[in-house]
């Protein structure tokens, strides 16, 4: 195979406002090569794809710098249409298919072969009739190329998700002169067998000369198909290596490894010795995209227990399952008492409080004031901030107490706002997160479940949020279970860190374990629980 360049990205940089998301990114794909692009959430993968495809969002936010060459020509894509003309096909994470149409209609959509008829002779080409026979033949050919035996005239409705993914691929390869296929997390929604046949198809296509740019954070898949691997982190290319020379654990390490700040000294839980406050046995959680499969662990009183792992491996499912927000099964014992699952109220009463990763969706009432966001859950769940209404047997909220508490919290957490009455929608991400923290503290947790506490917030706020969590743990003895995709953060905060892989705990490590060991666990290798 000649080393003919299909795609060459040279020094591409992109800022959203003042926020650099891509910095001098370069990579190239040869003909017939499968190039894997890996990186954690927020590493800049999607932005790079948007640039490659000329998505309008890029131009609306001020364009980018750098050059893109496709098949030896400098490309200036103004829209996805231009990119397609140049021979780039895209398989999206969310399907771009019409459910009511048949397979063939979907595959040939907007590129239908037509033949002239009576009206079109008068009114022009737009009104030519479809050549349905030819459509069927073309589609059959495309489907055969990817070994799919589904009937081309079946409607898409009711087909399994896996089929749809393949049809999406069929549509791309049906385009003549397709030279590069871009796949954005194509296996995220597929079952294992479907995923492996997809990978087989990719290899097959590569042999026939179609290159692929394969975006994923599932390293085992990447290692199965890719010829070359590029790791993207914080908008920069960390390294590009041929697969032969790469080791899975090194790649995993490169994806997450940031040079670490101070490490927390490991040791048995300080306040309560070795007594377990939370025991989880055989927990399975049905959280889409973050399934947890039969996980057992125990958290010691007074410790900070970390849960890490790559996205999609179930680390977020644990806290959500414990709180009863997603269907869960198993046994959870908190402070000696079993907590019934799937009942948020029971979890709250047992003293579990969740600081959700979905700040705007689950964590806040966006149109309510700061003080109400902080106090309302405690009024409902803890019967705090209420007072008797005169001599009547009715309790109502105590506005004065709420205001006072909110003002305390605002100064404690340094929430930047115009006052306790400001609606949280108007706050920045970091300050919103501080309100969430204040809300959680107010609930007086025994065990605080913290999910992605620093996602999408600025460095100053990060520091403050983490410090408050540490303070709560050290001064009030609150046990913390912290889930984060930033390994450095976990290592600076936690006493022990469980790494999830494929819905299971791959290993429980001490924060000062070597990077390689964390990398290995994240990639699904090694690591027996040293607990």
């Amino acid at each position: 195979m000649a080393a003919e360049r299909v795609l060459e990205i040279k020094n591409v940089s992109k800022c959203y406002g003042d926020n650099p998301v891509l910095n001098q990114v370069s990579l190239s794909v040869n003909r017939g090569e499968i190039h894997a692009l890996v990186g954690e959430n927020g590493a800049g993968k999607s932005t790079l794809m948007n640039i490659l495809f000329g998505m309008p969002v890029i131009h609306e936010t001020g364009g980018f710098t750098g050059e893109i060459w496709v098949n030896g020509n400098k490309a200036e894509f103004k829209s996805p249409r231009d990119a397609m003309k140049a021979g780039i096909g895209m398989v999206h994470q969310e399907f771009m298919l019409l459910p009511g149409f048949s397979v063939a209609e979907n595959v040939k959509l907007n590129r239908e072969p037509t033949k002239p008829n009576l009206i079109s002779r008068v009114a022009g080409q737009k009104l030519e009739s479809l050549d349905r026979r030819q459509m069927g033949l073309d589609t059959r050919q495309a489907l055969d190329r990817i070994d799919m035996d589904v009937d081309e005239w079946l409607p898409l409705v009711g087909m399994p998700v896996g089929h749809r993914q393949f049809i999406e691929i069929a549509r791309e390869i049906d385009k003549t002169d397709l030279s590069l296929l871009v796949l954005d997390e194509p296996t995220a929604v597929l079952t294992e067998t479907e995923a492996s046949s997809l990978l087989a198809i990719l290899k097959h296509l590569a042999e026939s000369g179609v290159s692929a740019l394969f975006i994923s954070h599932r390293l085992d898949e990447v290692f199965e198909v890719a010829d070359t691997i590029t790791v993207l982190r914080d908008g920069e290319v960390v390294c590009t290596v041929p697969k032969k020379e790469a080791r899975m654990e090194t790649i995993a390490e490169l994806m997450v490894g940031r040079k670490l700040g101070k490490l927390k000294s490991a040791g048995p839980g300080r306040a309560g010795g070795n007594q377990a406050i939370l025991e989880v046995k055989n927990l399975s959680v049905d959280m889409p995209g973050e399934y947890v499969n039969n996980v057992s662990f125990s958290v010691r009183k007074g410790e900070i227990f970390g849960i890490g792992g790559l996205a999609g491996h179930g680390k977020l499912g644990v806290a959500n399952g414990l709180m009863g927000l997603y269907r869960a099964s198993g046994t959870v014992i908190c402070d000696g008492k079993e907590i019934p699952l799937n009942d948020p109220n029971a979890a709250l009463e047992a003293g579990l409080v969740l600081l959700s990763e979905d700040r705007r969706g689950v964590g806040l009432l966006l149109d309510e004031s700061i003080e109400n966001n902080i106090a309302m859950p405690s009024i409902v769940g803890r019967n705090k901030f209420v007072r008797r209404l005169g001599p009547l047997p009715v309790s109502i909220e105590d506005r004065k107490a709420i205001r006072k508490h909110a003002e305390n919290m605002i100064s404690l957490l340094d929430i930047k706002c115009t006052g306790p009455e400001q609606a949280v929608r108007r706050l920045s991400g970091g300050n919103q997160q501080k309100v969430c923290v204040a809300k959680a503290i107010t609930m007086e947790p025994k065990v605080l479940l913290v999910s992605e506490p620093t996602r999408g917030i600025d460095i100053g706020a990060k520091e403050r949020v983490l410090n408050v969590i540490r303070q709560l743990n050290e001064e009030k003895g609150i046990t913390v279970v912290m889930t984060s995709s930033e390994l450095a953060e976990l290592r600076s905060m936690c006493d022990r860190i469980a790494i999830m892989y494929n819905g299971k705990i791959q290993g429980i490590l001490s924060p000062d374990a070597p990077d390689a060991e964390f990398g290995l666990c994240m990639a699904g290798g090694g690591g027996e629980a040293n607990d």
């Binding site: 709180m323 927000l325 009942d343 948020p344 109220n345 029971a346 979890a347 709250l348 009463e349 969740l354 959700s356 979905d358 969706g361 689950v362 964590g363 806040l364 009432l365 966006l366 149109d367 309510e368 309302m376 859950p377 009024i379 409902v380 769940g381 019967n383 209420v386 209404l389 009715v394 309790s395 109502i396 909220e397």
Partner: protein, 346 residues
Amino acid sequence: MIDSLKQLVKAVGLPRLTIVLFLVVLLVIGAVNRLPISMLLGNSLVRIGMNGIMVLAMVPSVQSGAGLNFGLSIGIIAGLLGMLVVMEFKIGGLLGLALALLIAAVLGVASGYVYGLILNRVRGQEMMIGTYVGFSIVSAMCMFWIMAPFKNPEMIWVISGKGLRTTLPVSDSMAQILDKLWGFSIFGMKVPTGLLLAFALACLLLGLFNRTRLGISMRIAGANPTFAMSCGIDVDKMRILGTVLSTALGAMGMVVYCQSLGLVQLYTAPLMMAFPAVAAVLLGGASARKATVWNAVLGTMLFQTLLTIALPVTRSVIEGDISEVAKTIISNGMILYALTRKEGDG
């Protein structure tokens, strides 16, 4: 000066300010044309009191997340039944009113519960479904009114000897009983004290309820269901609670309305009654996702004053009766405006 003006516009909202200005213009035109302004204002007060509780009924429904209660006709029919039972047994006076309110409330709670169960199955389309549930119930009740076992000869058709008449006068001892309670005149303006107090009491109670734990739970459920779930609140139950409260308030509001009007109107009369109530609360600054007692009070005052004053004034300027047309245009226009605008503004 300009800043403070801007702040005023922001606090009150442009639509409300426009209407207030419009009202002032109308009053000036009316005064110039020598219309009895004090009488008009007195009439407005009566209409505010008559309709207020039904507008207030929209508030818990919106707060619990079930949207504007377009199925208010269900509560209205419960209220009609309360009136009818009292009239059948010829119970008059304050006792009659109290009984009618009680029956209306009980029927409102029961029917509101069932209606709430329905609404929980059609999340996201409550308002559309509610409208048609309301229409269907009104139609179904048309049959009931014909077959209902009422025996009081003053209420049933004379010729066939059965079936309720379309319009029934409320007995003298009950008609306007609230309006007259502690009523007085000032500058030729009649003030229906009891009626207004009843509205005020309803507002006060709902306002207090909103500040209890249960009320707060209900508001959280409406504002963000997933947030509510993570607080251990049963969202479905809260939506039912909101619908029950709304329907019961609608029922009691109808009793208050009937006694003031002095008539009980059956058959298709309740068909469109939800719409003015919806329009009023929207006019007061509420949206399909957010509503306060204050929105209901302000909205009722603006909407009813506008209707009462606009008609005689326009009639004094242009010939002909446009009362129904104006009411329809204003109320539907307001609903259209409020439901198409973005959240948070207006």
